[in-house]
Every structure is written in structure tokens, then in C-alpha cells.
Amino acid sequence: MANILIIDDDPDMVLATRLCLESGGHTVDSAGDPAEGLKKIKAKRPDLIVLDVMMDSATAGFQFALRLRGPDPDPAMAHLAKIPILMLTAIHSTTPLRFGPDDQYLPVDDFVDKPFEPETLLKKVNALLKK
């Protein structure tokens, strides 16, 4: 059983994710934007982060992940870089949007498509926690 932090600006999405993860026996906390998310990560150091891609900008989630564990990480947050990140995205399967070669390296551990299949989400979360 793990502590999981959801960072997503859509409260319905947060609720759905929370219900799904809680039914799997996890303890869930949430943040509505990257800044609040960072505060909670520092304060509580969750076992896993579920991160939304599109928040206030189309790539806010990517930028957040890069800040935590990009090629040039913030040394103050080095101890947080090991927390697994599962990204919730609607981008890579259904739209022709593609990121350039520089963005291809995305420092996240796995992706789940939005809208998600609850079973898939749980399976991926548990797999990441076992690592």
C-alpha cells in the first residue's frame, strides 16, 4: 500500500483517479497545479506521482517532469528524482501532436491514456511501485 500524489487541474479526473487508486488500497493525495504539487512532493515525499500533461499550458506536465528529473536537474530536488512518475496523457495516441527530438526524452516511467481504463491504471501503478 503506497502514498500516491495526483497532479491534475481537472477535479473530475482527480476524483476518478482517486477512487480507482483507493479501491486498490492506496492512500491518495492531490494537487491542482504544478506549484502545489511540488510543495506536496517536498513535504510528504509520495511513493508515486500521477501527472497530467495538459494543465495551464499544453505541456505543463512535461515541464514539471523535466524539472524534477530532467537532464539538468535541480540539485535541491535530487532526492525526489527517484519517485516514479506515471503520466496521464491524451496527446500521444489521439492527436497528431508530436514533440521535437529535444523533447523526446521524457523523464517519466510510463503513460496511461486519458480517459483511462481503471484496471490498466491500477496495473501500471502497481507495476511501478514494485520496481
Binding site: L19, P115, P118
Partner: protein, 611 residues
């Protein structure tokens, strides 16, 4: 002066085809000239009993025939696919002809009596010829050469340095030494040559001018009908207007939305500094006001014309005269066309009228190009709008779907069977809505310029196979026999991963979806020469024959597909078709109701990428 692009010097000579025709005519005439020299010598000697240096004259006649043979051979070899090379060769050929002719003429004159020769008038014909054929060089140079040559010949004969042949016995035998006779012959000849050449030069100038104008008008008409790019049209217009008036500078300014400022839209042969001289506001620019009122404005001397808004810059650019004409479209004036010259008083009213004609033609092209660009902009904006809207639609629907799925999985507590059934129905409707949004998004993406995928070489088999694999479970559940025949050698097509995934995912998905339990779906890839055909054949419900032509229309669904109860948006195939065509391919369909449907996607094969 500004850098001059273009090649104004080419305008001062005849067109290659005219020069070639003139050269051919000259060669034909020369056969007669050579023959006549020989025949006339024989006739004068035998029939008229005139004493002539016959041997010399026969030699000249023969020499003319010999070099004419050589010239006609050279003329045949002058042809070249490059017009510039052809023109250079033709000019050289003409210079060679003229040089040889003048040499023969000089010897002929000497042999027929020098300054007393009755053949002196022929020299005029030779001068006229060069004036017409080589108008680039000042014709008075030829007059000077001819008159000077004649004078030298007369002096040489008079001084005894060169023998004199008296041809007409009736003339006094020492007439060729008489200073008064020599002087009068030379003066009268010079006067005749000068006036002949002056007249010819004037006529040739007018002809060339007319030719240039017709050519500019022709080019303008062609530009009007051949391009929808505003930039290209304006560029052509400035170039043609300058060429038509034999200058090297022109510009077009178009009225902005306020109708008060004229924005520079195209410039030809003007320096960057001059182009950036400042805003041209109608209220400060009397010349533009005059032109936009409908009549051309001519400035004869920029130094003392109060109508110029930027007089200092105009003079710094080396411009002394200019003509400004309105560009009037269907709904009123759209801008002004200006042509500039380095000399004062260069433009006549006729010139201004001619530029007006070009501007009138140009107005049509400018309006067409502007309308076309507005249309393209509107199309892009529309697609952008659809994209934004669909993105905004996706989030709430996605949120609702996720919540419902969590609910259906009983993750927030037990559901009664009837509650489960209701939520299941809502979920199905939301799934349909989501696929509609996704299709709209894909449709918008195929029409949004600036958002086009960059095509790359992609191995086809793997893409088709992954689309195929995605449907394996569904096919298995329906007990459909699903077969895939890959090609023996893989081929590459210029496309994108998303595009191919969409094309084949849609076609194979449809085949499985509309094929009843126990049916067959077969997918095959077959390279055929420079193209590769991928066929997706099913034993499904088929498409009614009369509905086949409408299959590619947005939102169209075949009547039997609608009745089947299967959910669909009717957008899939229209997006598939757009994508296939964007990759330079074709899609075709054959179908019989109750028997099945075969889709065939043909794409051009591209070379494998170098890795």
C-alpha cells in the same frame, strides 16, 4: 544607384527569332548579289563593250558565293536550346556577315571606279542593313565608317597610291582626282547616309519600343493567369512595368485597411534605403492622391517638383523622373504602380497610358491573389478553431468517461444491475461522442496548414501489421478468420506513423466491425512497380452500389451500416481519403451488398532511409 537586376541590355536588340529571320534573308539575298556581280561583269564586258578589271570582279563574285556557303552552314549550326547562347551566336554571325560584305563592297567600289563608281549608292544599303540588324550600336558609327572608308579610298586613288579604274568612258579621265568632285561626292553621300540612318534608327526604335510593350503586356497577362501568389504577381508586375518603359526601377504600393497608408508591396531595382524611406500617407502625398483619383501623374524633374513627399530620398536614389498610375480593382483603387527613371523628362503621356494598361491587368491578378490568400487564411483559421474546440471538448468528456468507468468497476461501491445497465448505456454514448471528437480533431489536423505532419520514409509492413494486431482480439471474439499477407520485401512510403496508423486502423477496424461472425478479413500488401497496393478485403455486409460515390463525404454512413446498430461517425473514411491523397496515393473501393467489400490503398514507394 541601386543594384539593377534583370538584363535591360537584352531589350535593345531584336528578339532571336527576328534576328535569325533577318540573317537568313541576308544570306538568300547574297546568293543573288554574288551571281549578279558575275553576270553583270560578263554582260558589261561582252554586250556593252565596257572595259572592266573583269578578273578582279569575277573573283569578288566567287568570293561572295564561297563565304555565303560558309555562312549558311554556320547559320544551321547556330541553334541552341539556351536563348542567350543562341542570341550571342546569331549576333556574331551577323557581325561576320556585315564585316565580309563591307570588305567586298570596298573592293567592288575600287574596281568600279572608286569615287566615280556608280555603285556608291549600294553603300547606303549596307548601312541601312546594320542599322536594322545591330541596333544596339550607334548607327552613326557605321555612317562614319562608310564615309571615312570612301574618303580614304578616294584619297588613295587620287594620290596614286592605289590604281584607278575608269569604268564609264564618258566621264573625264581625271575626274577622280578633282578635289571639288571628291568633296561634293563625299558631302552628298554623307548627307544621304546620315538622313537615311537617322530615319531608320527612329523607325527601329519605335518598333523595338512597341515590341517591348507588347512583350510586357503579354508577360503581365501570363502572370495574371498563372499565379495566385500575391508576392509573385506583384514581382512580375513591377518587372514588366519597368521593362515596358525601358527603365530599371519600379514599385507597387498597396493601400492598407485604413485606406490612408500605402504599404510597399513590391520593388524592382530600388535600394533598401530607398524602400525604407518611410510611410507613404495619402494626406501627405499629392502624387498618390492624383493617381488614386484615377489619372496618371508624371514627374519630369524630381529636383523641382513640389508634389514629392520624399524629394531628398528620390534624388539620393538617382531618380529624376517618375510616373505614378493607379491600380484600380473591381471595387475601387487598391494601390499605385510607380516607374522611375534616372534621366529627367523620360515619360510621355503615352508611356503613362501604357503603364495604366499594365496596372489594369495587374489589378485583376492582385485581387485574385488577395482573395485566394484570404480564403486560405480563413480555411486555416476555421481548422484552428475546430482544433481548439475539440480539445476543449475532449477534457470534460474524458473526465466523465473516467468517472463512469470507475463507477462501472464498482470502485466506489456496489451498483444494482439496473444502475449498471444505465451507466453502461451512458458510457456507450460518451464513447461515441469521444470518437466523434477524435475524428473531428483528425479532420481538422489534415486541413490545418502549418500543422501538417512532416512526411518521412516509413516501412509499410510494420505499420499495417500493428493496425492488424490491434483488431486481432475483436476478430477472435467474432470468430472471424483474419489473415495477413506481407510482401516478400518490405517497402517504404513517404508518410507519417500517425497517418498510416489512422488509415489502416480505420480500414481494418471497419472490415472487422462490419463483418458478421464467422466471416473472413484478409489484408495483403503487394508492391506493383513504383507503387504499393494494400488491400483490405472482407466478407461483410457490403455497401449499396448507389451509395458508393458518397462514401468519402464527411458524415456519410451507408444505409445498411446505420441499420446494423454499429456506432460510427461517418468521418473515418473521409479522413482516410485525405490522408492517402496527402501522401500522393489513391484509395478505391469495390463492394457488393451481402458479399463483402474490398478497399485498396495505393501509395508511391520511396527509397529506404539511409540509417
Amino acid at each position: 544607384m541601386a543594384e539593377i537586376r534583370g538584363e535591360p541590355s537584352q531589350l535593345d536588340v531584336l528578339l532571336p527569332r527576328d534576328l535569325a529571320a533577318a540573317s537568313t534573308r541576308l544570306i538568300l539575298t547574297r546568293w543573288a548579289a554574288g551571281a549578279i556581280v558575275i553576270l553583270a561583269t560578263a554582260a558589261s564586258q561582252r554586250l556593252l563593250g565596257i572595259i572592266l578589271p573583269a578578273t578582279g570582279l569575277y573573283v569578288i563574285g566567287l568570293f561572295i558565293l564561297v563565304y555565303n556557303t560558309a555562312l549558311s552552314l554556320l547559320a544551321q549550326r547556330a541553334a541552341s536550346p539556351d536563348p542567350a547562347v543562341y542570341l550571342t551566336r546569331l549576333r556574331r554571325l551577323v557581325v561576320l556577315q556585315v564585316g565580309l560584305d563591307w570588305l567586298c563592297m570596298a573592293v567592288f567600289l575600287h574596281l568600279t571606279g572608286g569615287i566615280t563608281s556608280p555603285a556608291i549608292v549600294f553603300l547606303l544599303i549596307h548601312m541601312l542593313m546594320v542599322t536594322i540588324l545591330l541596333p544596339g550600336v550607334s548607327s552613326y558609327l557605321y555612317v562614319a565608317l562608310g564615309v571615312g572608308g570612301l574618303l580614304v579610298l578616294a584619297m588613295l586613288e587620287a594620290s596614286g597610291a592605289l590604281a584607278h579604274y575608269t569604268v564609264l568612258a564618258a566621264l573625264p579621265s581625271d575626274l577622280y582626282r578633282d578635289p571639288l568632285f571628291i568633296t561634293s561626292q563625299i558631302v552628298f553621300f554623307a548627307a544621304a547616309a546620315f538622313s537615311t540612318v537617322t530615319l531608320a534608327t527612329g523607325i527601329m526604335g519605335q518598333l523595338l519600343n512597341r515590341e517591348r510593350q507588347i512583350s510586357a503586356l503579354f508577360q503581365t497577362t501570363r502572370a495574371v493567369s498563372s499565379s495566385l501568389s500575391l508576392h509573385e504577381v506583384l514581382d512580375q508586375l513591377t518587372r514588366n512595368a519597368a521593362r515596358a518603359l525601358s527603365t530599371a526601377h519600379s514599385s507597387i504600393r498597396l493601400l492598407d485597411e485604413t485606406g490612408e497608408t500605402l504599404e510597399l508591396a513590391a520593388a524592382y531595382g530600388l535600394s533598401d534605403a530607398y524602400q525604407d524611406k518611410g510611410p507613404v500617407e495619402l494626406s501627405h502625398n499629392p502624387l498618390a492622391q492624383e493617381a488614386l483619383a484615377g489619372k496618371p501623374a508624371i514627374v519630369d524633374e524630381a529636383a523641382d517638383d513640389p508634389r514629392l513627399q520624399y524629394a531628398r530620398q528620390v534624388l539620393e536614389e538617382g531618380i529624376h523622373s517618375l510616373v505614378v498610375v493607379p491600380i484600380v480593382g473591381r471595387s475601387g483603387p487598391v494601390g499605385v504602380l510607380r516607374v522611375y527613371a534616372d534621366q529627367p523628362r523620360r515619360f510621355s503621356d503615352a508611356d503613362a497610358q501604357f503603364v495604366m494598361t499594365i496596372a489594369r491587368q495587374g489589378a485583376v491578378a492582385i485581387e485574385n491573389a488577395m482573395a485566394h490568400e484570404a480564403l486560405k487564411r480563413a480555411e486555416t483559421e476555421r481548422a484552428q478553431f475546430v482544433r481548439t474546440v475539440t480539445h476543449e471538448l475532449r477534457s470534460p468528456v474524458g473526465g466523465a468517461q473516467s468517472l463512469l468507468r470507475v463507477l462501472l468497476q464498482q470502485m466506489s461501491g456496489e451498483l444494482s444491475p439496473s444502475q449498471q445497465d444505465i451507466i453502461q448505456r451512458v458510457e456507450t454514448r460518451l464513447d461515441a461522442l469521444m470518437s466523434l471528437i477524435n475524428d473531428l480533431l483528425a479532420l481538422a489536423a489534415t486541413t490545418t496548414s502549418g500543422f501538417q505532419e512532416k512526411p518521412e520514409a516509413i516501412a509499410l509492413t510494420a505499420e499495417v501489421r500493428s493496425a492488424f494486431d490491434l483488431r486481432a482480439t475483436e476478430a477472435h471474439e467474432k470468430n472471424i478468420e483474419l489473415t495477413f499477407s506481407p510482401p516478400s520485401n518490405d517497402v517504404w512510403v513517404r508518410s507519417s506513423h500517425e497517418g498510416l496508423a489512422h488509415i489502416f486502423g480505420n480500414l481494418i477496424g471497419n472490415a472487422v466491425k462490419y463483418t458478421p461472425n464467422g466471416g473472413r478479413v484478409s489484408v495483403a500488401i503487394e508492391p506493383r512497380g513504383a507503387r504499393v497496393a494494400t488491400t483490405i478485403a472482407d466478407t461483410g455486409i457490403g455497401i449499396p452500389e448507389d451509395e458508393l460515390p458518397k462514401l468519402w463525404q464527411e458524415f456519410f454512413r451507408a444505409s445498411n451500416a446505420k441499420k446494423s446498430g454499429m456506432v460510427g461517425t461517418g468521418l473515418g473514411l473521409s479522413i482516410v481519403k485525405r490522408r492517402v491523397e496527402a501522401y500522393g496515393g489513391m484509395i478505391s473501393v469495390q463492394s457488393r451488398v451481402g458479399e463483402g467489400t474490398t478497399f485498396s490503398v495505393t501509395l508511391p514507394i520511396c527509397p529506404a532511409p539511409v540509417s
